[in-house]
Amino acid sequence: MSPSPPKEEVRAASPRRVVVVGLGVVVPVGVGVPALREAAAGGRGGISRHPEDRAAALPPGVGGRVPREALKGRFDGKLLRLSTMSEATLLGACAASEALEGAGLRHSDGPFPEAGVYVGSYICPPAFDKQAKTALALTERDAGSPRGWRLDDERLPHALKSQSAFDFLKALPNMIASHVSIQGHLAGPVGTFLGSDASGLQAVGEAYHAVRAGEAEVMLAGAAWSPFQEVLLAWLRRRGLLGRGDGDLGTASRPDSEDADGMIPGEGAAFVVLEERERALGRGARVHGEVVGYSSRFAVPGGESDVRARADALARAIPPGLPVEAVVLDGTAVPWNDRADREAVSLAFPRGRPRILPSASGPCGFLGPATGPVNLVAALADPRPGLALACSFSVDGTHAVVAFQSSAP
């Protein structure tokens, strides 16, 4: 069922193999891998309605929220402070902690220079209420300006008093990776990938290559996202990407269904710990699977070239000679994007589509850049034979595919 590899392939061969030795996940249906498996087995959903007084400001009024009480004690409070963490950082720190602990790699005795972290993220605007109050305090009507308003700098000293030194730090996208590196004492490569819903799998794919090339022995890789910020959701709605969110909560997020009408936003995080195979086996680590390929492609979204780019990303991720048994797609529930996904899979596998595994975006809502890593963790936690592909084909035109094999159950 595998397509032909691209003709101009000149990728350097590497004897180093990369295995997965740790899994961590935080999603609306459960915190931790056991809870995720339990929820999947029970068909439990995680979409809820926002409180009535906030619903209109947080379109579409429903979403996949992680219960905050479930996060208590899930990260190292001695190393990380809540006052410096955004919502996405909090989710990421909890998922990373589980992954590192499962991998037996909780270092507490100083820097660990052979281990790094790559994180996928997306826009992390600062918390709205506080920033909006500051902005309003500065806003002055100005008939002489084409915009009709101006920001009054004379009021600045007063407005600035409400700002904490850490307010703006929370909004920096690289702060998830920074917190997680401090938590795990990870002193190898540290990086943050942005720009699209594919950035989570880009982080996993580049981490795979960092280990493969010998730049690190261990890489923590994944993504975290919390989209429940007023400006961000308004922007997604204006782009026509959000669903209506009406009707039954259990079917509010309907990726790849005929009546899908857009994203239902969800928040979550997932990390895998990648390790050079011989090193992992040598220390007796539990191996969940192996990453065997990665590719990333771009095209302007929505056209024929976009479908070809998605199909090409699929083809390039597959190691020669290995048949693909299963594919898991993000499933945005945006009709044109889901349609392009289906067309790309058909184009890449003309002799028959592999099995399509369900995406977490159904029960959890669309998790942005964390969707791909969550699906990867879910597939590795529920092992099945053969090669599988985790795919993030984003509405922004950037696409990433990670090829992996689960260890035998």
Partner: protein, 429 residues
């Protein structure tokens, strides 16, 4: 045989000049672009100084389907266009060549205040002052506010795809590793070409955090210079009188290309990117490790990847922010990484002249680093006047210096949150 990666194109927008030849001229002359901030009235802030681009090059309104507007966006497009032209590469828009890639490090464009102000004014009507509109009402009105569409101008959304469209690139990566981001974009592009997944990459970064919100944030962290009575002397890396960095803006790009690919098409090779080194401090969110151990590791790894040793280093283009903590830690790290050789290596800071470009810093400083091969000079550290006991290296005070031997140039970039990147460049032969 290992693939090699060369620089075949460069472009820059900065406070002292836009365009590589003028940029190099002014760097060599020690011209500073730090002035009293003009974009808004800074009187209420502790710091009044910035390195603004006062005469940006013109750019098109659109690139294919992407709107080009706003400062970070237009600076990046101008620098990218220059780099692609310098490399002699057609824009090939719409081709999406799979072996051509874009790596861009972008910041966090700060538009929230403008979006709130516009939305509040829109819903206030004639009877209310915009600032009297409750926050909840503004929040509910956002979905019908056209001001929200400006989120399209966030770097991480449309800028990288627009650059990919411009370059005809079939791979697109956006990175955000704070002050190390521009160098990481270039380092990641190097890795992609080295491993055979691409032949050409447009790589760099751009940023402008000269906004009320960001200047306030960095002031609250006490990270910015308060030398308001001497704006031209405010950025003084490694000097005893340094008191913080100066916010800059602009963008820089290089075109990286696989050596044989460049040779076959007869492209001019400005330098070889011979190695990269990455490390993390895993220490604190805003301060580097005082012992310089994280920075040391990135330098050692870059030298190792380049197959070079301390004695091969002819110049270090330092991160050199002009903060107390960075400059002392970086000096320690250079001592640790180079040992006895450290005292004989000139160390310059480009930020002394153009301020700190944050996500764009490493990329613009890579363009500056190539001066050592293109002009055979290393630029001075402007404003260095008094030795600090914790900074005891040769910081090239006063004037540019001739390069007298062949060797490796290291370009350091160390980011908020403990992300360290060193690039090792050598002549392309």
């Amino acid at each position: 045989m290992r693939r090699r990666v060369v620089v075949t194109g460069m472009g820059v927008v900065s406070a002292i000049a836009s365009g590589v030849p003028a940029f190099w001229d002014r760097l060599a002359a020690g011209v500073t672009g730090t002035r009293r901030l003009t974009r808004f009235d800074p009187t209420g802030y502790p710091s009044h100084v910035a390195a603004e681009v006062l005469d940006p090059p013109p750019v098109p309104d659109r690139i294919g389907p992407y709107r080009v507007a706003g400062i970070p966006f237009s600076h990046a497009v101008a620098a990218a266009v220059e780099a692609l032209r310098d490399a002699g590469l057609d824009a090939s828009a719409g081709d999406w060549l799979p072996r051509r890639a874009v790596f861009f490090s972008g910041g966090c464009t700060d538009l929230l205040q403008e979006i709130v102000a516009a939305t509040a004014t829109g819903v206030a009507g004639a009877d209310r002052e915009p600032r009297a509109v409750p926050v909840d009402e503004v929040a509910r009105a956002l979905a019908s506010s056209a001001a929200v569409d400006d989120l399209d101008l966030y770097s991480e959304n449309n800028l990288s795809p627009a650059l990919a469209f411009l370059a005809g690139a079939g791979q697109c990566h956006t990175l955000s590793s704070a002050c190390a981001g521009g160098s990481q974009a270039i380092g990641d592009a190097w890795r992609l070409i080295l491993r055979g997944d691409a032949d050409v990459a447009l790589a760099g970064g751009g940023d402008s955090l000269i906004t009320r919100q960001m200047i306030a944030g960095f002031c609250n962290l006490t990270a910015l210079s308060r030398r308001n009575d001497d704006p031209a002397g405010a950025s003084r890396p490694f000097d005893a009188g340094r008191d913080g960095f100066v916010m800059g803006e602009g963008a820089g790009f290089v075109v990286l290309e696989e050596y044989e690919h460049a040779r076959r098409r007869g492209a001019a090779m400005h330098a070889e990117l011979a190695g990269i080194g990455y490390s993390g401090d895993a220490h604190r969110l805003t301060d580097p490790r005082e012992d310089g151990s994280g920075m040391r590791l990135s330098m050692e790894r870059a030298l190792q990847a380049a197959g070079a040793g301390p004695e091969d280093v002819i110049w270090i283009n330092a991160h050199g922010t002009s903060t107390e903590a960075n400059d002392a830690a970086e000096t320690r790290a250079i001592h640790l990484a180079l040992g006895e050789a450290a005292r004989g290596v000139p160390v310059s800071s480009t930020k002394s002249m153009i301020g700190h470009l944050v996500h764009g810093a490493g990329a613009v400083e890579t363009v500056a680093s190539v001066m050592a091969f293109g002009r055979r000079v290393v630029h001075p550290t402007a404003n260095w006047a008094e030795r600090d006991p914790t900074c005891d290296l040769d910081y090239v005070p006063g004037a540019a210096r001739d390069v007298t031997r062949a060797g490796v140039v290291l370009n350091n970039s160390f980011g908020f949150g403990g992300q360290n990147v060193t690039l090792a460049l050598r002549p392309a032969v």
